[in-house]
Amino acid sequence: MWKWKRKEKSSTEQTQQKSKQKKSLTEFIQSLQNSEDFVCYSLGGENECTISYIKTMSDSKILNRSVLPILNDGIFQSIEEIKQNIPVENMTVTEDIDLIQEKVMFGYIMIQLSNSAKEVLLIPAVSLEARQVSIPEVEFSVVGPKEAFVETLNTNINLIRKRLPLPQLTIKELTIGKVTKTRVAVIFVDGVVDPKNVETVTQRLEDIEFDQLIDSSFISQILADNSNSPFPQFLDTERPDRVVSNLIEGKVAIMADGAPHALTCPTTVVELFGASDDYFVPWHLATVFRLIRLFAVIFSVLSTPLYVAVLTYHHEMIPGELMATIVSSRADIPFPPILEVIVLELTIELLREAGARLPTKIGQTIGIVGGIVIGTAAVDAGLTSNVLLIIVALSALASFTTPIYQIGNTIRLIRFPFIIGAQMWGLIGVSMCMVFFIGHLVKLQSIGRPFFEPIYPLRVHDLKDSFVRLPFSKQTERPTLMRTKDSQRMDASRANAKRDIDE
């Protein structure tokens, strides 16, 4: 029965063995010569050598200005001598075919003195097309820094380092992805971070067995403690300022080359609802906004399930004054509340999906057209009640208040089990779903640290920056969750000292 499976396994083993056999340099060059953009020519004259590079990856300026004049003018006996004369930094002389292959594929220029020699000189001439650093689009904030990560890892690390000029800021680099060979950086502040967290992250990264690593979200899915959970267990942010403040708190950041997002961990469910804006406004305002956001999330998840439950089972829960409004708006609808809700929720999801896939300008139009035209038409046609239309629109709006896109997606999805529960068992069904989700959240971990942290396990100290944000002077210690080696952020007595007179 399982023959096909066994066969497949043995064939993969064979290919793996094949790939382990080292190719020779000439084989490598031959395989590259199938591509039109690979340039390989012999330089005549005094120094007979072969120059090979991929012209789409290499900067021809370096070749023309720094390499060719030297090679044409001088007479060199060995490859080491060339290396000493060419004014380009970080050149390597090697005969390791794996290294040669990796470097040439990245745009290094390879120079062989004569075709027979095994040693080659690799000159870095990488030309990378990269996007300019632009304003954050997913986590936009009105005040505060307006820089967002781009797809180049070096630029991203630069954005972090310039905000954190510390020798302790450590960056470990790994190469992950069998085919893509993506550079992945683990960033942390040594002396603040708990080394166990770094160990966990690096170990899990090293264990990744996957051929392609296109984006950092791949990492967040593969590294997740529970990959079947709808909740993101890594905080996904495009703001360097947020990453920096997380690093200082003792968290670990993971960045991948080609991904404009950084992942920070360990994270908690509360943190996913905090925006960086919260730190740019006075603490009372930030607290109120956070509570509004929390309410919005609860409303967004529970409003339509409650509508279904109350209208189907618990008529006595409708306030007397609302009775007439709800009943008369429902009177013409041919569907039971559950169908009505599912149809409308799916419509909203369609609009959202369509809006996300279309170009920005058309996307906005779709939102307006969909919202106004379809909504009004559905009510006029008697397919949905206008009360429900308001509820669904509000809950959709409320789900947009989540600052992190990934958790927004989760919120979008988890209301459906609630709706089904509400239809089957009324309020009991809603409570059952709630118990199920809270149980799941309590069990969930982010790199081995509790995900539901300030609430369960209850750590009163960490509540200072969760649902409420106390002023900076009250947050003198780093969060307990991080188990940081240096828990003191600043001197509490000096931070809270009263300065009546400005001397």
């Binding site: 008529h315 409708i318 007397g320 007439a324 008369s328 009177a331 509340p337 089957m424 068992w425």
Partner: protein, 362 residues
């Protein structure tokens, strides 16, 4: 394996128990008011009002449908009414239940029992005694200026007036005093008057039967004895004219002295009031006059309070809950003994009236 068993049982439970019959709110006949009269041959005649909501129209119901049925018991009335209704009956939104005086005097213990058992019924529901036929009250078309349906009208009527002269009442309070030891319930009396209905006093229960009533004019003194309240008006005769006392804060305090066998109660009432209207009194408003009015009011209230307490003793009822008060404060409380001694109970009512304002003169 565990997960599999869990999944299978979850699916089984959801599929098997998801089959109960349910209908959306607009497919139900939502009873908002019910009334019970004495029917023929010791039967109960129930009348219900069901608002009819117009589709795609304005929010308020335009009409009400009244259904009447006779049966031996309350649940049977429900069943009989179901036979007349095209939609399933839903009693969760019942907001007013009325009993005719005739029925209430015979005792409504059986009906009260049903009310206390049904979890769908709101504890905020209002109960009332109708001096006359509840059917007439329920089916009375309210005058055009007021609420659109009679259930809303009656609910609003009781709700509003229990903020003024009438003591607070609802199903919860009624059941509490019905089941409490040393406490008896009371309900407001509603009478049909011309084209509308009116609150007309209080009916006092002994067990499940009405044994005494007081007119609307005495409900202010009763409320003063029963609970703290902040509104309401009382007319007081003074030197041939009348004065309207406008209550702005009345607080009552019970104190128990003596032993369980020989208790004595002090009821202290502090009333703050304004005087805004004096009819037929040709005197200038001065602090001296205010003092005189205060004294007259104290006399008036003390007289009324004594009369009320005397009446309670005669009827052997305890709407103030003095027995309950004693029970919660003294050990060895014996209900039968208390009842035997109730008629000799010493209750001293001390009233202090303070007139804080008597208006602005020019």
């Amino acid at each position: 394996m565990k997960a599999k068993i869990f999944l299978v049982s979850l699916i089984a439970v959801s599929l098997l128990s998801g089959c109960i019959d349910h209908s959306s709110v607009e497919e139900n006949a939502i009873i908002q008011m019910a009334g019970y009269d004495k029917g023929e041959n010791k039967r109960i005649r129930g009348t219900v009002s069901i608002p009819q909501y117009e589709g795609s129209g304005e929010g308020s119901p335009a009409t009400e449908v009244y259904l009447t049925a006779s049966a031996d018991g309350v649940k049977e009335v429900e069943e009989e009414i179901q036979k007349q209704s095209s939609k399933p009956i839903s009693i969760g939104k019942l907001s007013v239940t009325l009993y005719s005086m005739e029925l209430a005097e015979e005792g409504i213990s059986d009906i009260i029992d049903i009310l206390s058992r049904d979890p769908r019924i709101s504890r905020n529901m209002f109960l009332g005694i109708v001096d006359g036929d509840t059917k007439d009250v329920i089916e009375s078309k309210p005058s055009s200026s007021q609420e659109s349906t009679s259930s809303r009208h009656l609910k609003g009527l009781i709700d509003t007036n229990t903020q003024y002269n009438f003591p607070k009442t609802n199903l919860h309070r009624f059941l509490y005093s019905y089941y409490a030891e040393g406490m008896d319930p009371f309900l407001p009396i509603i009478i049909p008057k011309d084209s509308t209905v009116e609150l007309d006093g209080l009916a006092f229960f002994k067990g499940g039967a009405v044994v005494g009533t007081i007119p609307e004019s005495k409900s202010f003194p009763f409320r003063m004895l029963k609970e703290n309240f902040k509104r309401g008006m009382q007319k007081i005769n003074f030197e041939g004219g009348t004065i309207m006392l406008d209550n702005i804060g009345s607080s009552v305090n019970y104190e128990m002295k003596g032993t369980v066998d020989d208790p004595e109660f002090d009821i202290k009432i502090d009333l703050k009031a304004e005087v805004n209207e004096m009819v037929g009194i040709n005197r200038e408003a001065t602090p001296a006059l205010a003092k005189e009015i205060e004294k007259a009011s104290v006399d008036f209230f003390e007289k009324n309070a004594d009369e009320l307490i005397q009446m309670f003793k005669e009827k052997e009822i305890d709407p103030l809950g003095l027995g309950n008060f004693a029970k919660t404060r003294k050990r060895n409380f014996d209900l039968t003994k208390w009842k035997d001694n109730y008629s000799d109970l010493k209750v001293n009512v001390k009233i202090n009236v303070e007139i804080t304002e008597y208006g602005i003169f020019s």
